[in-house]
Symmetry: C2
Subunit: 261 residues, 2 copies
């Protein structure tokens, strides 16, 4: 089942995607809902992030090649995490599928994509075992953890490096039926393939992260957990279109636009 969230005449509205159409609902997939019978062509709608998360969790270093490549570029020893520590991103940076990523006018050139699997939590839960972890998952979507590397490494925090307005595209929808081990992430820039990797080839998987975090933190319905990325990105410039494609889920497509001075 696929859940999207769209801008319906100014009102954020959930809907169920079937083929090339979406049927809007009243309510939310995390509580009560009912179909309205109103169907819209997917090509005609404005997608919002499929959920506005109460808390926005994001895993920083979770694929080995990404860690090695970033360390090499920085000229430092790779720091491979020994335990699944989680970070945070800003809700203010979220945009939906199809919206433009705005590169700030004064951003140096190393603006990169990071294609990520996003776990959407469905239940309030604490102290979840690894064996039970997937039971609290509502579904999965796709995130692009857009990063400006000079700010990421030069500032004291990642606020500008990772959380400028529009730097967190998420979508296009939440897919509830996914087999993690057969997922594959492919990224295209302007239609040209740049990387393909097995999505679940993580240092610490979804079950491990959920179980670890939930020892100290209560998850809430709608929380999201971005799972990190593999590889590296070319520098993105004005007009570039980035597609993050995860089979079984969909394609998250966003154009990058340089802000005018």
């Amino acid at each position: 089942m696929r859940w999207a969230r769209i801008d319906l005449e100014g009102a954020p509205t959930f809907g169920i995607v079937e083929g090339n159409e979406i049927e809007t609902v009243t309510g939310t997939p995390f509580g009560e809902y009912a179909g309205t019978g109103r169907r819209l062509d997917l090509g005609s709608v404005t997608f919002l992030p499929p959920v506005f998360p109460p808390t926005f969790y994001c895993v920083g270093l979770n694929y080995l090649d990404h860690i090695l490549e970033q360390a090499k570029k920085k000229g430092v020893e790779p720091n491979v995490p020994q335990q699944p520590d989680v970070g945070y991103r800003a809700q203010s940076a979220l945009i939906g599928h199809g919206a433009d990523v705005i590169i700030p006018a004064d951003a140096p050139e190393r603006v990169h994509y990071e294609g990520e699997l996003v776990v959407v939590i469905g239940k309030q839960a604490k102290n979840v075992s690894e064996a039970d972890a997937l039971d609290i998952v509502f579904g999965y979507t796709i995130g692009n953890d857009v990063s400006q590397r000079d700010w990421q490494y030069g500032d004291r925090t990642m606020w500008r490096g990772k959380n400028c307005d529009t730097f967190k595209p998420m979508g296009p929808w939440i897919e509830t039926d996914v087999d993690l081990d057969s997922l594959e992430t492919s990224v295209r820039v302007n239609g040209k393939p740049v990387i393909t990797f097995p999505t679940n080839n993580m240092l610490f998987g979804v079950e491990k992260y959920i179980s670890t975090i939930s020892k100290y933190v209560t998850f809430q319905p709608g929380d999201v957990l971005w799972m990190g990325t593999e590889g590296s990105s070319p520098n993105l410039v004005d007009g570039d279109v980035v597609e993050i494609d995860i089979n079984q889920i969909g394609v998250l497509r966003n154009r990058f636009v340089k802000e005018k001075q």
Copy 2:
């Protein structure tokens, strides 16, 4: 004017505080609201965090003595910020005035308070000048940025060190009429004064932070910005009661309770 948010028979409800009473309202202070005429004694209500922020901003190092003391304890050179970078905290950790802070059973002993001024944003805004910054502020409340220092410095991120469930008391209410320069923060542990400092004696003040952040980020009504703390804290133990008192605003009081193994 003082705005609180209380648990009214299970429903989060805003209200206006007058003396020892609160009058509940329908709606929110960030949009339309209307008084209900229902008045409750403040001693009888359960306080919630006075707002659930869309994005939760927090300044890490903003008072000189705190920076020098933390560096000395860690045995490193003090790192005084040269620009106002902002961090984030997790909404999942928020609790209200009067609720217990639960110290996890396996937390090492260095559990500390950090008494902070909290700015509550009232308007959607981007590219705000320092001169106009206070115009987007709805009011001010108080935060306790509870920290477990071993996890804060030992983990790769601050997720456990700063964001365990209940580690972010905020309240008791939002005061809309405040003169920043005459604010004074006092902290008491079990009724005994431990520190008093001029609240606005910051490296980078409220106006500077709002202006800087808003160059890259759009603020939304209800966003909160915790402004950092001065000094250091004793190790807090089971049963300790911490009060953060900022004149003109109020007193945020929370008991610390050690979780049973």
